[in-house]
Symmetry: C2
Subunit: 303 residues, 2 copies
């Protein structure tokens, strides 16, 4: 009953005889515990996190539910292997558009070895991690029944510049995404990024927690943005989601805030809010140009 996840946009894929995560039909995601200690560190994080009463409920919803670990046949045929059993956060979406954004202007942590730090630093400098405080680690964009998904390859993703990131954050919420970056209409920005349940409000809620919490430092952790473009187009009340994933490099905060994650999060917030305010401005312009005697509503429509 286990299969390769259809909508995995980053990380190791369980294809071509390789080791990777699996999913079942009941909404669970099985992530193999990596042998170098990372897997156990991630399991330990989930155990500590799920029982930590200092984490408020409105923050807990940004993390996948963890159901412990389980011995399973590994996807690479190497036999039984411990897997972390998590909520499959994609399973509730039909045609999910997903962005995996690794947060922080460094992916290494002070306690790591010199070799590990140099390796991470090199990649952080090569990508937008150092300059932006985050990098896109993978994405898929549902473009419609005919075109299917746009999912750039790993090499393309790793070469994204600041300019590309800005374009993709626009293209991600555009109805004409397949036409090309320059002409993105950002018509879904008000309903995906904006609004009281939108991505921006969720990012701000996370930010408020990160300004205060000194329990964990989330190195090399990803923030997923997920939504269903089709249900948005049809005006149904599908809520865009944010989830944090990948906790193999979480360390204790020891009374200090996670300023590395927080800085990157604030940078992402600035980018998202710019897309949103640009889209509002252009709909005001559209209203004016169409000579409708109206005001633009919050979701960018003319009244």
């Amino acid at each position: 009953m286990l299969k390769v996840p259809e909508h995995q946009v980053a990380g190791h894929l369980a294809i071509d005889g390789k080791l990777g995560p699996l999913v079942d039909d009941s909404g669970r995601f099985y992530k193999p515990l990596q042998g170098d200690g990372r897997g156990n560190k991630e399991l330990a994080f989930y155990e500590s996190f799920s029982s930590d009463t200092r984490v408020p409920d409105h923050i807990r919803k940004y993390f996948p539910v963890c159901y412990g670990s389980q011995l399973l046949e590994a996807s690479n045929g190497s036999g039984l292997l411990h897997h972390l059993v998590l909520q499959d956060i994609v399973s509730s979406h039909r045609n999910p558009s997903i962005m995996d954004i690794k947060i922080g202007s460094r992916t290494w942590y002070p306690e790591a070895s010199d070799n590990y730090i140099q390796k991470c630093l090199e990649k952080d400098r090569r990508t937008t991690t150092v300059s932006l405080g985050f990098r896109i680690a993978g994405l898929q964009l549902y473009e419609g029944k005919e075109s299917g998904y746009w999912r750039p390859g790993r090499k393309e993703v790793q070469s994204f510049t600041v300019y590309n990131v800005r374009s993709i954050l626009r293209r991600f919420v555009s109805s004409n995404s397949s036409i090309g970056n320059e002409n993105s209409d950002c018509s879904f920005a008000p309903s995906i990024y904006g609004g009281s349940a939108g991505i921006l409000e969720q990012l701000l809620e996370l930010k408020a927690w990160f300004e205060d919490q000194t329990i964990y430092h989330f190195h090399s952790c990803s923030l997923l943005i997920l939504f269903d473009k089709e249900s948005v187009s049809k005006g149904s009340a599908s809520v865009p989601e944010i989830k944090l994933i990948d906790f193999a490099h979480v360390v204790e905060g020891k009374g200090v805030i996670d300023h590395n994650f927080l800085g990157g999060l604030c940078s992402l917030i600035k980018f998202v809010s710019e897309v949103l305010s640009d889209s509002k401005e252009s709909s005001i312009k559209d209203c004016v140009e169409s000579e409708k005697p109206g005001i633009c509503t919050d979701n960018g429509n003319c009244q």
Copy 2:
């Protein structure tokens, strides 16, 4: 009329025939333009900053006024040298307690050379820069007429740990600072860190700007905290001050917020607000223990 600044707590000192800044009696500070281009970069920053209309007035007050540059006899006897002419921000204080805090979890910038980056990174890892997002670069603490100033030496400052930083932020606003770190009473915390014109409010005002501004990235820049302990003790209305200094490594923001500075600033804010809330808690305890039928006021006194 030029002399060596009495209250310089970090940077090159103009003593023993060395090159360093000078001050005069009219409240001006003369900083020699370093020959490796840094001096000119700092001058260029001040010129760009002072004419940039995007910088709001309530933020401008956190920067020293710049009066251009001037040829002066250098302090090391090497002859005439261009000096940056700045407001001497210490001159308005009689017995200033000063802390120089270098903000950011990295002091290098992406465009720098590999050698420079490695040199900075090493120091950032050796100090609290990486772990805290800031490091104390120097300080002096006025302890009273008899004891004068406590000013730890450069080596001591460079070896400050997270624990030391937390102690010093308490000791900085204590009336019994000379007794030792453990017993700091933090009795000045409500009037220095707290209140509507206090350090915490000023830090929050700066933070709001850094969440939005994408003009400059302030690498290796310092935030000074200054106040007169004597006037606070006497209850006079001396306002604690924040100034940003050292702009030789400022680069263009290119539409991205300075997430490195912002993250460190948020970390400092958390530390300062913890000292403040601890001091409030202990004065409530004092009120209760003294059985005064009162409430604690915002400045930590019993009513």
